[in-house]
Amino acid sequence: MIYKPKRNRRSIPLLRVEASENTSKITRTSGVRGSRLSEEARAGLVFVSPFLLGFVIFTAGPLLFSLYLSFTAYDVLNPPKWIGLANYQRMFSDVRFSKTLFNTVYFTLLHVPTAIPIALGLALLLNANVRGLSFWRTAFYLPQITPVVAAGVLWLRILSPQDGLLNESLALFGIAGPKWTIDAQWVKPALVIMKSWSLGWMVIVYLAALKQVPRDLYEAAIVDGANAFERFWHVTLPMISSVLFFTLVMLTIFSLNVFTEPMVMFPPQVFGGQMGPQDSALFYVLYLFDQAFGKFNMGYASALAWVLFLISIVIVIIQTRGARRFVYTESGKV
């Protein structure tokens, strides 16, 4: 029989672990003794207390405080002054903000749909019983180890329009390469190529997922006469779909938060205060960072941060909704 993905009920990606939790808790002996906390509950609370403390101080508190700051004008030196929605209104007339939003969305839409198939393709190649797996794995992971600053500088040279490695390679095939780092139109594709270089983490995650697909499913599919493509489509894809979804969410969040690469490759010192030619490398967090720690507009920066937060939530919700139709797991949870 061909393996058919089932529709599943719930799709919150990171909650699916609960199923295995139940089994581990069945054989518990020490329950609650009397009305006071058991020894186990006390130990449990002691163990999570660092997280609770950190959550209150570094997450929940700052989250609320940044919400408050987003309604104020605040330059760190003087106390915050309440200005209502002015920071949010300012975004509508802020030309650099709309540029930033456009750049970030454009980059994400270009990066995520190309990176996932490439990484999956590489993982599939590595999964086909190749010899010297550890060599290939290291090779694919090498860019990940390279410090982003080094990688950024390296790619600046590779993408150099005159004598860069990429354009010289293209010239071998008679193609005149674009001015990657100079032409504002090509800056984002250039960054996407550069980012595709360091998707080794995804390859490794996919490879781990592929190794966990039960072998008898393939054997059953072969008995049923499924060809290689059908096996991929009806067995492999459904079985790794939850991992695909996990990487989709993570990669989207990473892309929306891209910071270091453009910071290294297109520093404002070089482009007359702009990020890259005509601000073409001005991404969301870079702009936020500049407002917060360059111009000390902490209020406006906080408003920017909250808008990014809301955008991220909306996107993850949309992705989760979409995933319900495609993601298969045995527990029915995504």
């Binding site: 609370l45 410090p147 600053v149």
Partner: protein
Amino acid sequence: MIPSVSSSNQTSTPVIGNSPMLYVVGRIVLYAALLLFTAFFILPFVWLISNSLKDAAHAFDANWLPQPIEWANYVRIFQEVPLLQMARNSLIVAVMGVLAVVLSSSMIAYSLARLQFPGSNLVFLAVLGTMLLPSAVTLVPVYLIWKQLGLVNTLYPLWLGNLFGSSFYIFMLRQFFLNIPQDLIEAARVDGANYYRIYWQIMLPLVRPALLSVAIFEFQAKWNDVMTPLIYIQNPDLRMLPLGLQIFVQHLGYGQFRWELLFAASVLVTLPMILIFFLAQKQFIEGIATTGIKG
């Protein structure tokens, strides 16, 4: 529930096809594709090393083999930028950060995975929520906290927060703790071990590969972090390696075009990470492979 098979030794794709001709052709195509991609991943790095060994006059040329080979670049970088001092700062932050995050995250993960206490589900939800929160949202208030504490311009803001655990690692380690047989814990309980001893003497040793993965991830994150030092460090004596490379870009790279020095410094900064990855590769990969990111 997904069975957690630790099947790194299991080959999951069966050999395709019944014609040996087809098989050979398939293999050739496979390795050709692998080599092509590997070139994409490795050649830039080879090119980096090659360029780090060229002298100033040839720094721009397209030759793969540097002529003459200028080993002195690797001496000169130490004269241009206080690399050793930066490496020391980076090392302090990375090592302290790793120790703090491994200890705290594993404690929290153990509790969430194996101990029953009121509100544990809520805590786990908070962990997941923190994981999805863009760090930019809390950037400003967190900066203000450190400023209030008078710790801006010290190395503490760069690693001290790790003592509170990191949601991604908590989630990852929790999956490991879930897989440890309950019998082991029961046996230890019967022998009179309390939950703290069970954590330290039974649970931690059993998840060593996972702890190592966390350590490598975190070391790499700290070693490469550009943004946090940019926020908290103005004191030149406290600058770290990524910023040191930035100096080469800004002052030497664009000003005097000393690319070869920049590349030499980049190679040196990358080397420790490659070394660590090679030494830990097997355990590291197994760690990720069984993390149960799949659940």
